[in-house]
């Protein structure tokens, strides 16, 4: 039994997209999201799909990994299609009738549109985490959130929390897997019985997992304090991320393009 790790893990290859600053990529994702929501026809969606395809190719992320997020959404996609495409006992049948159920042509088209939009969003936005290391990402986030410090929003602390959380996801997943194997060796079964029995079977995994997490958190807090961590204020960076001309150019051009597509199509 394997513990699933969420999609969107960093793919360590070199590409022009990997080289962009994290802040640029966050801006691009925002512009892309806006663009995808602004287009209201299949032409616009097709242009956005081309953008995604081009971005994946340029990023040199393997397709298998790039589209992995879509599989996790297969239920939502199917639900979107069915909710739009099926009609109960309609007055006029447009496409196919299965007893009282009927498939509605225009509804199905709408369903395909929304499903395609979700797929584009998932693949497009997951490129951000696929091409940016968690550390770059949280550094970028900190910079983007810094204006909020005016209203006493603790940007540095939030960024540090995110960094730590991201850092410990693989560790925790590995630990969970280790405990599952150990308890399996003691005769525990995680794939038998009904949902309640299955949920209860995870108690011997979750309890030690949480105990170890709290222990680790305490150790980490002590280690940070002994290295004089005192919150975000006054902290400087060894590798400050800078927006280069290429970043500004990419960001401006791509944002203008996507807003134009969103408005026009």
């Amino acid at each position: 039994m394997r513990v699933p790790v969420a999609f969107g893990q960093y793919v360590p290859v070199e590409s022009p997209i990997h080289a962009l600053d994290a802040k640029t990529k966050m801006g691009l994702v925002a512009a892309f999201t806006a663009g995808v929501f602004m287009v209201d026809g299949f032409t616009g969606l097709a242009v956005m799909a081309l953008v995604v395809v081009a971005a994946v190719v340029v990023s040199r992320v393997p397709w298998r990994i790039a589209v992995r997020g879509v599989r996790a959404l297969s239920f939502i996609l199917a639900f979107t299609l069915l909710a739009h495409g099926l009609r109960w006992n309609p007055a006029t049948v447009t496409l196919v009738r299965l007893g009282p159920l009927a498939v509605d042509g225009p509804g199905l088209v709408t369903g395909v549109f929304f499903a395609a939009r979700i797929m584009l969003l998932v693949v497009g936005t997951s490129l951000l985490t696929l091409t940016t290391t968690p550390v770059q990402l949280t550094d970028g986030l900190e910079r983007v959130m810094r204006p909020l410090e005016v209203v006493r929003f603790p940007a540095g602390e939030v960024a540090m929390m995110l960094t730590i959380a991201l850092r410990f996801i693989p560790t925790t997943a590995a630990e969970a897997e280790k405990i599952v194997i150990a308890q399996t060796a003691r005769g525990a079964r995680f794939d038998e019985g009904g949902p309640i029995r299955r949920a209860r079977a995870f108690v011997p995994v979750l309890v030690p997992l949480f105990i170890n997490l709290f222990r680790r958190a305490e150790d980490l807090a002590l280690a940070m304090e002994s290295r004089c961590y005192r919150g975000g204020r006054g902290r400087t960076r060894l590798n400050a991320s800078v927006m280069r001309p290429a970043d500004w150019m990419t960001l401006t051009l791509a944002t203008a393009f996507m807003i134009a597509v969103g408005v026009a199509l």
Partner: protein, 276 residues
Amino acid sequence: MALIARGLGYIYGQGTGFGIDALRGVDVDLSPGELLVIAGATGSGKSTLLRLLAGLLRPLAGSVTVDGAAPDARSARGRVAIVFQNPESQFFAETVLADVAFGPRNLGAGDPDVVAAGALAAVGLDPDTFGGRSPLTLSGGEARRAAIAGALAMRAPYLLLDEPTAGLDSRGRRDVIAAITAERARAGVAVVTHDPDEFLGHADHVLALREGAPVFGGSVAALFDAFREYESSGLRLPEVVRAQLLARERGARIPAIGFEPREAARALMAARGDRR
């Protein structure tokens, strides 16, 4: 009746192009009543070998049989117990007794609490004193022994342990080693360790690995005759033993190599013809 492996091989990430050749050409024979010490430096494939023997990994080369059956077959379930590194990090129950009883309860064999109490006694923890305590209140050595009791309670004829003494103080190590060697009365025991010195005096057989391949396999007596092969694994025999072996290489007559300094002194003096 034995846990037998022939020509075992394993590669992590096979077919990805980044495969790591973890183990190749390893043979293991473990019968009930025996203690097998599997020694090797970090990264020599010891833990992989243990997982293969327990049926938690499927060998990519060679075979494993537990009393004639494959270890992942239904008939072999509960026949091989395994104790992982730092097993005390897997405690979950409110009391030590309940935690140790987890295995027998899952297997549905006998009264779990009675079996668990027996297992605690076997590792030298009085069930009346320790059974009702929270596992989180135990000392390092006590916790390790309680976790080992959790595996003993499976009452499997084969017991595998991964670095059972790692991170313990000398008293904890002594207690754990006593509990493990005593278990030989009921089971065949295999211990994987990068620090085998304290086990060698109790071992029946020794297997030394280097970078996934066996460099020595045989009895402890054979180990003394071929100790340079054993040491090519990157490990060193205890100084006391080395001193006697080096004396023997230079012609001293030492019929029995001792692990204790007192035995060693006596053997060396006898070889010189001194008497006291």
